[in-house]
Symmetry: C2
Amino acid sequence: MTRTSPHTAGSASRGQPRATMKDVAALAKVGLSTVSRVVNGDNRVSDAKTAAVLQAIRELGFRRNDSARQLRVGATQSIGLVIENVIDPFFSHLTHAVENYSLERNTLLLSASSTRDPERTRRLVLEFCARRVDGLIVTPADTEETGYLQAEMDAGTPMVFVDRPPRGIEADTVLTGDRSGAARGVAHLIRHGHRRIACVTDRGQLHTAAQRLAGYRDALDAAAIRYDPELVYSATPSVENFRTPVARMLALDNPPTAVFTGNNRSTVAILRVMAGWDTRPALVGFDDFELADALHPGVTVVAQHPAEMGRAAAEQLFRRIGGDTGPPRHTILGTTLIPRGSGEIPPSRK
Amino acid sequence: MTRTSPHTAGSASRGQPRATMKDVAALAKVGLSTVSRVVNGDNRVSDAKTAAVLQAIRELGFRRNDSARQLRVGATQSIGLVIENVIDPFFSHLTHAVENYSLERNTLLLSASSTRDPERTRRLVLEFCARRVDGLIVTPADTEETGYLQAEMDAGTPMVFVDRPPRGIEADTVLTGDRSGAARGVAHLIRHGHRRIACVTDRGQLHTAAQRLAGYRDALDAAAIRYDPELVYSATPSVENFRTPVARMLALDNPPTAVFTGNNRSTVAILRVMAGWDTRPALVGFDDFELADALHPGVTVVAQHPAEMGRAAAEQLFRRIGGDTGPPRHTILGTTLIPRGSGEIPPSRK
């Protein structure tokens, strides 16, 4: 298929747009800048002129040739965001904050979910770079294969990594204080009398899960409680994955009286596993979630701040896009312990 | 800024990529097709060759010039999705389904939230069209100003509307059976002995809210129960907006014994309003939400199927992109009543 130059005027045929903005301006009897404003969604145009332009666009079948515009201007005014999964509320809140921040700066956000698939992550990053985004915010897959990220950064696409750092790449990061936050949550259980505390986390190779498990151990060490691997279980969070291991822990001679969960997906899965149980162990979850306060008992959490993380990542990315060539900046956002009942249950008598 | 042709070879300077794929192929000592595969995220390339290509890309500062590619190929292989708000789990599940469907077809999904702002909706639609997406799935803002949608459709961008129809435009839609689903939920309460049933919905001008309110009235009519406007309240869902009106209803001489809520945001807000109350009215909510089953009592809902809606919208859009010029197709997905306890509470004695 051949394409005419964007500067060539011509009449439109359906599905083969060839009209230019000049044609639209002539038919609508307005200036070229007015057409440009309407097409760019700028609302400083009267309703009457907007209607005339839209009518002319319809009649001519005009479509703005953005590819040509990109070649001329050299910038798309867009940034990309590759998160793990939009259905996880942690990531949907983070996405929303990034989107609001960038739209306030007249920059479109392109976002996509990698769903923990390293190949899909790679494909999305390369697709976004190929679309000439001005920069990228990425939650990297937990994989060693990050060479393509370095290659795109070297080729001029600024990147900020959020939630987890990329392996073997020195770059801007925005993370939660995972290890210290987890230690705080576990210390809270210890303060309420628990010494047998289970730790149920996401897959151990995940950076955040490993950091939170390390924080769990820190809190045990600080209280001189022996680490017992029988009380630790890591897997992709689901009722199916957690049911048997948790039942096995609770059937031990010396069972746990409390559970620490490593992220909101794990907490929700554990709540489902324990649904209908007469007596439940105490519970502190890492990461807050909707309705944690409406359950009985309310769920005590170590809250992360996903919207603030998204905002911090966007701020840093815009600094880079604006030309900041300073050394990599590592931002760590603190956590907030929110006691709601489940974490304040004393150890049950055996 | 002038840009060199994508076919001009040249050495790279940082931030000014000028190398071509041919340069990369020469340096990596591989064929052009191998470079193309690596750049396109195709994994049918050996690890050694991939590493060599990535190394060459780094050394040369190569960036694929996708704008030039778009002009040649004439298609971006991307679709756009404009939803209301990604932090609403209804929309995050819908988004995820559309994204999976399109990625399976080697098509990138660009998605964004309009946050109920008609001007932001318009801007996002025009931005996506300017980026030459192959088609769009849109949840339209509840506004009369939809002329720009018609203009972009006429100019050749297929669109499918999801969750709500656009006003005054005849086009493909994928909706939930809002009215019949709501009638079913209210009839369920009537079957459990209620005759004074409050209806709390999102803003009345919202298509879905209006349809669900109509369904509420249908169910009352069918049971010969008089419609009482004092039992109906519509506003953007929040604890602040709902607290006083709900308290006022329950202070009536003849208060409601049950509440029907019009979407998951309304149900969650009402649950917060009623937190800590000794006796609660029965409750049926439209739209399911996470942990609805873990609350006490579990929340009875008329479940929508957001993932199936996303999938149906994507299927229809790909049919249009593939050349289907048939008449507009209207898909309505049914609802599922899930009794969990809150909707089966009998009317309390006064």
